[in-house]
């Protein structure tokens, strides 16, 4: 065929001294759907951000349609016909579909914006896509499926010939996913090339022509999808990371008597359906599942953030009516949320203030906070969790990601919970900090607490869990004893084929 739509060669990139991309090659043919896969931290998003002009590469060359180019800004990328389908970031909820699609490029008549013309053009765009969307609907009122269609129409309106889709199906329903795939085939027939980033093997095998695997910032393989098996792709993604830090330390858990936490037939908000499981004192229960499988929503429902539609939660054998997070906290449950920076910490406050926040009422004496005692308690946590900080008076924002996470854990330990739910406890922290956090989790379980670890990294789940529950589409697909799983590939498989 003619020249390549995109050719990236020898791309390297470092952030504050840490190399995240090592001379990566990537190519995209015209009219091709090309999957880009890899575990967390493999470098997929960094590579794509370089193609979009959000970052610039330290080394390497990029050619678009055979022409060497320099992409310094998203604007440059747009001019080269590269469009990014963001999950939700690039739409303005308070504007209409048509206004969003033509934002900054509004058609005019007599110097003024001609909304009727942009609505007409929008209607035509959707007709070409065989979709029905009202150009005058307010984006904020539409479901995420429509957001995505609007995003795609917006890229096409800018004459994009290369689309980057990052986990496009994670927020879609099954029907919406299928219509997205149909749309991708139509776009492909028009010669549009698509880079498809996803963790879902099933989708990759259904929709893509070729697969490129990255691992630890290096290019591993590029093969036609038809010549690949799921085993082969998983092997490439996983590599050999199971040694050392992530080795499983076998633990003995007595699963007798009353479970600490029992969930029976729990349904919430359409994303969690009829989930049942139990958690015993001293046990670490892993929850695996793809993005959008209802992992986070399950935790939110148990913790009283989302309303429970059906089913019940029993704590120490007794029904616990949890309606708001306060009920859960009173019952001895703590949730360590996924996004610690926005949900778990007050970044400008000190380590001490963050640690003591949940226990302030208990530190009060005659209406005043007992500062000296607070400082002693905070120091105790810093020592027991090995939080690396210059002092307890250091603002949390100055700590590394791993140590911030330990502050969040310490903060919740201060409420003396029996049950800890941790959503992606090691997301975005380096390997050393990961090991330490996993160690903290083990120690807490040894002390008799029940712990639920939600994670998208099989290696991490295998390192700490005693049992693993696999969620798919909001329901429990399988429950595995850690002993039954020999290799990481097996868990990958179980999650993918759920």
């Amino acid at each position: 065929m003619s020249e390549l739509a995109v050719q990236m060669s020898g791309i390297s990139k470092s952030f504050s001294g840490t190399r995240v991309l090592h001379a990566v090659d990537f190519e995209l043919r015209p009219g091709e759907v090309h999957a880009l896969v890899g575990g967390n931290g493999a470098g997929k998003s960094t590579l794509m951000k370089i193609l979009q002009g959000v970052y610039t590469a330290d080394e390497g060359r990029i050619a678009v349609n055979g022409q060497p180019v320099e992409i310094r800004s998203p604007h440059d990328a747009g001019a080269l016909g590269i469009g990014m389908i963001f999950q939700e970031f690039s739409l303005i909820p308070t504007l209409t579909v048509a206004q969003n699609i033509f934002l900054t490029r509004e058609p005019r008549s007599g110097g003024l914006i001609d909304d009727r013309a942009s609505e007409q053009r929008t209607r035509e765009l959707f007709e070409e896509m065989d979709e029905r969307v009202d150009p005058r609907a307010m984006v904020g009122d539409l479901s995420t499926g429509y957001w995505q269609l609007t995003e795609i129409a917006k890229a096409l309106a800018q004459e994009a010939r290369i689309l980057i889709m990052d986990e496009p199906t994670s927020t879609l329903t099954a029907t919406e996913t299928q219509s997205l795939f149909a749309l991708m085939q139509k776009l492909k027939a028009r010669g549009i090339s698509i880079i498809y980033i996803s963790h879902r093997m099933e989708e990759i095998f259904q929709t893509t022509d070729r697969v490129t695997v990255l691992r630890d910032g290096r290019w591993i393989s590029t093969e036609p999808t038809s010549q690949l098996t799921m085993e082969r792709v998983i092997d490439d993604i996983v590599g050999k990371t199971m040694e050392g830090a992530f080795a499983w330390q076998e633990r003995q858990v007595e699963r007798t008597g009353t479970p600490l936490l029992e969930v029976r037939g729990l349904s919430a908000g359409g994303r969690v359906r009829d989930v049942s499981f139990s958690l015993y004192p001293g046990e670490i229960l892993g929850i695996a599942g793809l993005m959008g499988s209802g992992r986070t929503e399950l935790a939110r429902a148990i913790f009283g953030i989302d309303r429970i539609d059906a089913g019940e939660v029993l704590i120490r054998g007794e029904r616990a009516p949890i309606r708001v997070p306060d009920d859960a906290i009173a019952a001895g449950v703590a949730l360590i949320p996924e996004d610690r920076r926005s949900q778990g910490l007050v970044l400008d406050h000190t380590v001490k203030d963050n640690l003591l926040l949940p226990m302030l009422p208990r530190l009060q004496q005659f209406g005043l906070v007992d500062d000296a005692r607070g400082a002693r308690i905070a120091k105790g946590f810093v020592e027991s969790l090995q939080i690396k900080t210059r002092s307890v008076e250091t603002p949390v924002r100055l700590l590394s990601g791993g140590n911030q996470q330990k502050v969040v854990i310490g903060k919740w330990l201060a409420t003396e919970p029996d049950i800890l739910i941790m959503d992606e406890p090691t997301a975005g922290v380096d390997i050393g900090a990961k090991t330490e956090i996993l160690g903290v989790i083990r120690r807490l379980a040894d002390a008799g607490k029940g712990i639920i670890v939600i994670s998208s990294e099989p290696a991490e789940l295998l390192a700490v869990s005693d049992r693993i529950v696999i969620l798919h589409d909001g329901s429990v697909q399988r429950e595995l004893d850690r002993r039954e799983i020999v290799t990481e590939e097996e868990l990958h498989h179980a999650v993918q084929s759920a």
Binding site: P74, H75, G78, F86, F89, S90, L91, I92, P93, T94, L95, Q99, L103, T104, E106, R108, G111, L112, I113, R132, V133, D134, R136, A137, M138, D141, L142, S143, K154
Partner: protein
């Protein structure tokens, strides 16, 4: 199924909150028209009086609509009005009315541009920048006049800026009609207006789409300064003098008018005509309460209560 979801979303869009100001305005107007029938509420003279008293707030509310829709706030408008009234009066006394008008507008341009630069270049919150600027502008006006009023003797200037009228129509009314028309068209029908709404609706998304959100932030604050200066010049013309106290406390009335008019304090949506009606609504309330014979202390309490109730209704999700 898809089309049903869409119809539902269309129905949701008929959002009564946006029309609250219209309904409230008509309801209050009828209320006073009936209860104050004998006190002369509906006489042409009284209605023109309301328009005159409201015009200056309404003018500033037009520019404030852009500021708030872009996700910013400008607390310095009242102080800029005071400062501009003073610089205009001083310049007219020495160099004549044309130079006076230029000086007034330049004052607003400078103060507004400094606000805009501090907010968009030093990334300071507009609330704090303009709070500080409020003091700087008001203090400057006191300083250069030694706190004394500066009379304006130029009849022509006074007639155009607020005291005069064309036939039965007061010049202030003409000003507000012109400013409202320009503001409404710019917000609804120009790229700039659309980008203001986009910036306030989701700043990050707007930036990713190629909107220069810093430029938008700078422009809304600069224009707000210029329009506040125009308001100060209208004060000067109406009261035939420049004085540092003109516009004192107006920022709160202006913001209340904008929010009453259906502009979201979180940015992203706004209506210029709504803001002007919001200002008129406040004007009608003031006027009606005076005609009812309430003491000024009682007026202030009722006015505050009405604003709280209206904003609570308008912002309920």
């Amino acid at each position: 199924m898809q089309s049903r979801a869409l119809e539902r979303s269309r129905n949701l869009r008929i959002d009564w909150r946006q029309y609250l100001v219209y309904v409230g305005f008509i309801a209050l107007f009828l209320f006073f028209a009936i209860t104050l029938r004998d006190s002369g509420f509906t006489t042409t003279n009284n209605l023109l009086n309301i328009a005159r008293q409201t015009a200056i707030i309404a003018t500033m509310a037009v520019a404030m609509t852009f500021v708030i829709a872009a996700g910013q706030i400008d607390l310095s408008v009242g102080a800029i009005a005071g400062l501009a009234s003073v610089t205009t009066a001083l310049t007219i006394a020495r160099f004549g009315p044309v130079a006076g008008v230029a000086a007034g507008l330049l004052t607003g341009l400078l103060v507004g541009a400094v606000n805009g630069l501090l907010v968009t270049r030093l990334l300071m919150p507009s609330f704090l920048v303009t709070l500080g600027m409020m003091g700087v502008a008001r203090g400057s006006a006191m300083w250069i006049t030694d706190t004394a009023p500066v009379p304006i003797l130029n009849e022509r200037y006074n007639a155009i800026f607020g005291s005069g009228s064309i036939g039965p129509v007061p010049s202030l009314l003409i000003w507000i009609i012109v400013v409202t028309a320009i503001g409404a068209v710019v917000l609804r029908k120009t790229t700039y207006g659309r980008q203001v709404l986009a910036t306030g609706g989701n700043e990050r998304a707007a930036r990713f789409t190629g909107v220069d959100t810093r430029r938008i932030g700078f422009l809304v604050l600069t224009v707000s300064g210029v329009v506040a200066a125009l308001a100060g010049m209208l004060y000067a013309g109406r009261l035939q003098s420049g004085r540092f106290q003109w516009g004192e406390g107006d920022e709160l009335s202006v913001i209340a008018a904008v929010v009453l008019g259906g502009t979201s304090l979180f940015g992203g949506s706004g209506s210029v005509v709504g803001s002007v009606l919001g200002a008129l609504l406040i004007g009608v309330v003031n006027n009606g309460l005076i005609l009812m014979g309430l003491e000024s202390s009682q007026q202030i309490i009722i006015r505050g209560g009405i604003i709280i109730v209206a904003v609570a209704l308008a912002s309920r999700k």
